[in-house]
């Protein structure tokens, strides 16, 4: 009963000053709308970039690098164990580019339940034959099914179908840049010269575009088997194993472990793309800061309006107190006013934010990096809406708290005798 009475008094005071109320509410509405729009848009972009980098990059890549052997014979000798050995002009040895015992390695990784899956690769350096000119290039032999399911391989494909690599023998998926240089169309045959000097005809089944020009000018894809044939190697010749983990955060630790167990080099996504997460974090932080700043400005607006209202309503407050409303009742009346401005202003702000997000979602956005995206990305996560309405209520509560406390402390005797 008391609460209902307080709310009904708050509502009457609000409606009696509806123009001021509206201005205050518009401040909140505007800031919440901007907050939602900004966060939705920023996080949409973040997700897109996550997609670009995180989803398409293996969490761990196992490969063999040609480098000098760190275990030189002198280090193994017991007589020099306590001395500091300097060896100059150490040369790389053992030019093997494939992973030792790749079949067993892959089996072991498949059995590891931290790993979501793996995709083997065979990297074959070739020359593309364009009439009299040869162009340097690299053909990657890939397991198409694994690449599609683990690394969104289909997102790159701008023409043709990736699965044809598997279905059509001796087929090739050309980088957009390579295809332009070779003037090759789907269904045509291109010739590549392998490192062994053989000329091999391959059928073009499609084009891909990653957005990295240098990459698209050099690379193309074929099946693992075809690549092995190009290299003249057997079926266990695998140069890279790309692994996707269930939990991205385990990547550095698991990479180290695999490098030790399988005697290969290992790279993890965190060390390779360390700057990436920082970028995402800064973008989110910026949108929160802008949103909260807007809300605080709106909060000051509410504070001002409530203060003015209290000066205008001194008499009303005095008589309410004289007729039996306690200080805390008066405080609750003014807090109700503030919080309801926050709640309704915020709710309308959420709706406007959603509409703005939907509008942004319609704006065309073409980027060569992401052929499958045609409009600006927007994230509609409910969390931002919950944060938005919570912030608006909290800010208005604090904006209302001090004026309300002042109102609750008004001495009715001073007001009434002052007349």
């Amino acid at each position: 009963m008391n609460q209902r009475l307080i709310i009904s008094i708050a509502r009457s005071l609000l409606l009696a000053r509806w123009r001021q109320t509206l201005v205050a509410a518009i401040g909140v509405t505007f800031s919440i709308a901007m907050f939602i729009t900004l966060l939705g848009f920023m996080n949409g972009l973040n997700d897109m970039l996550d997609d670009l980098v995180l989803n398409r990059t293996p969490h761990i890549r196992l490969f063999k690098e040609i480098k000098p052997n760190p275990d030189q014979p002198v280090n193994l000798s017991e007589s020099f164990a306590s001395s500091h050995n300097f060896i100059e002009s150490v040369k790389s040895s053992g030019g093997r580019l494939d992973i030792y015992n790749s079949g067993a390695v892959m089996q072991a990784i498949r059995a590891d339940d931290r790993a979501l899956g793996l995709a083997p690769r065979v990297v074959a350096p070739v020359l593309y034959n364009a009439g009299v000119v040869d162009i340097n290039g690299i053909v990657n032999g890939v397991d198409v099914v694994a690449e599609v399911s683990l690394f969104s391989f289909n997102d790159y494909i701008v023409a043709g179908k990736a699965i044809d690599l598997k279905n059509i023998p001796n087929s090739i998926l050309l980088g957009k840049g390579v295809a332009e240089k070779l003037q090759a169309d789907i269904g045509e045959t291109v010739f590549v010269t392998t490192s062994r000097g053989e000329q091999v005809p391959l059928k073009v089944v499609g084009f891909f575009q990653t957005g990295f020009m240098d990459f698209d000018k050099i690379q193309s894809y074929t099946s693992v088997e075809t690549a092995q044939k190009l290299m003249g190697k057997s079926a266990n010749y695998i140069t890279d194993i790309q692994i996707k983990l269930k939990d991205l955060n385990l990547a550095p630790a698991v990479a180290k472990e695999y490098a030790r167990i399988f005697q290969t080099d290992a790279e993890d996504i965190k060390s390779v793309n360390a700057q990436f997460e920082t970028g995402s974090f800064i973008r989110s932080l910026l949108s929160y800061v802008v949103g909260i700043t807007l809300l605080i400005v709106a909060g000051f607006g509410i504070y001002n309006i409530l203060n003015m209202m209290i000066y205008e309503k001194m008499d009303s407050i005095a008589i309410l107190k004289a007729t039996g409303f306690s200080g805390s009742d008066v405080r609750r009346i003014f807090l109700s006013i503030a919080v309801s401005i926050g709640f309704f202003g915020g709710a309308v702000g959420l709706a406007i934010g959603l509409v703005l997000s939907l509008l942004i979602d319609q704006i065309p956005f073409n980027t060569s990096a992401l052929p499958t995206i045609t409009t600006y990305p927007v994230n509609y996560d409910l969390v931002y809406y919950v944060i938005g309405i919570t912030f608006s209520i909290i800010t208005t509560f604090f904006a209302g708290y001090f004026p309300a406390r002042k109102a609750s402390k008004i001495d009715p005797v001073v007001i009434i005798r002052g007349k």
Partner: protein, 225 residues
């Protein structure tokens, strides 16, 4: 049955700004139920100050104030608000109606705050009181559409809504012309004689005071008669 409604025991009050001045000096008196009392005195003799102490709104005094057998000194702010709501009705020189509400709603507010009756009952009781005061036809108008005399009558109705033990008035006719003053006085008189309402009215209107049952005269912070 006559009982003591309000009792002032040795109430003193000093103003400290800028120098200490004693405004009330050991005031002792009591009010019995059904009495119609007026407090008179020259301007500045402390009669209004006394009234605000008796009304529990001013708590800065020494001595004891007993209302309905309860000492007000030990009570907290919220409890005093409750006492004002339940046991005291106020009529001020200025009407203090809330312009945001209708006349009826203004009268109902203290009743709704009390929470003793349902909303319908409070509304019914408010209409009854407006009828006694002859302004029930104005009930649904906004408070600022009424004349000064009508507003004061609404304020009286508001004071009566919770059947208070005592109605206190601070110069209730001070702002009114002769005709309206007479109407308001007649209302008080009727309340006292027909409804046996206890009334304690501060006034400087000698004519008004002479028609009440008992006159308390003050001078320089003391009761002289």
């Amino acid at each position: 049955m006559i009982r003591t409604v309000l009792e002032a025991k040795n109430i003193s009050k000093n103003f400290h700004d800028p120098v200490t001045i004693q405004v009330l000096d050991r005031i002792n008196f009591s009010v019995n139920s059904g009495e119609f009392i007026s407090v008179i005195g020259k301007s500045g003799c402390g009669k209004s100050t006394l009234l605000y102490i008796l009304s529990t709104m001013d708590t800065d005094y020494s001595g004891d104030l007993v209302i309905d057998g309860q000492n007000m000194r030990e009570k907290k702010e919220a409890e005093l608000a409750r006492v004002r709501n339940e046991k005291i009705g106020f009529v001020f020189q200025f009407h203090y109606l809330l312009n945001e509400f209708s006349v009826l709603h203004n009268v109902m507010l203290p009743g709704l705050k009390l929470g003793k009756y349902s909303r319908q009952e409070v509304e019914h009781r408010a209409m009854e009181r407006l009828k006694i005061l002859g302004i029930d036809d104005q009930a649904h108008k906004n408070a600022n559409q009424l004349s000064g005399g009508q507003k004061q009558r609404v304020a009286i109705a508001r004071a009566l809504i919770n059947d208070p033990l005592i109605v206190m008035g601070d110069e209730p006719t001070g702002n009114l012309d002769k005709k309206n003053s007479e109407i308001v006085f007649d209302i008080f008189k009727e309340l006292a004689e027909v409804y046996h309402q206890t009334l304690l009215i501060v006034t400087h209107d000698q004519g008004f005071a002479e028609n009440t049952h008992r006159i308390i005269e003050m001078e320089d912070g003391r009761i002289v008669s």
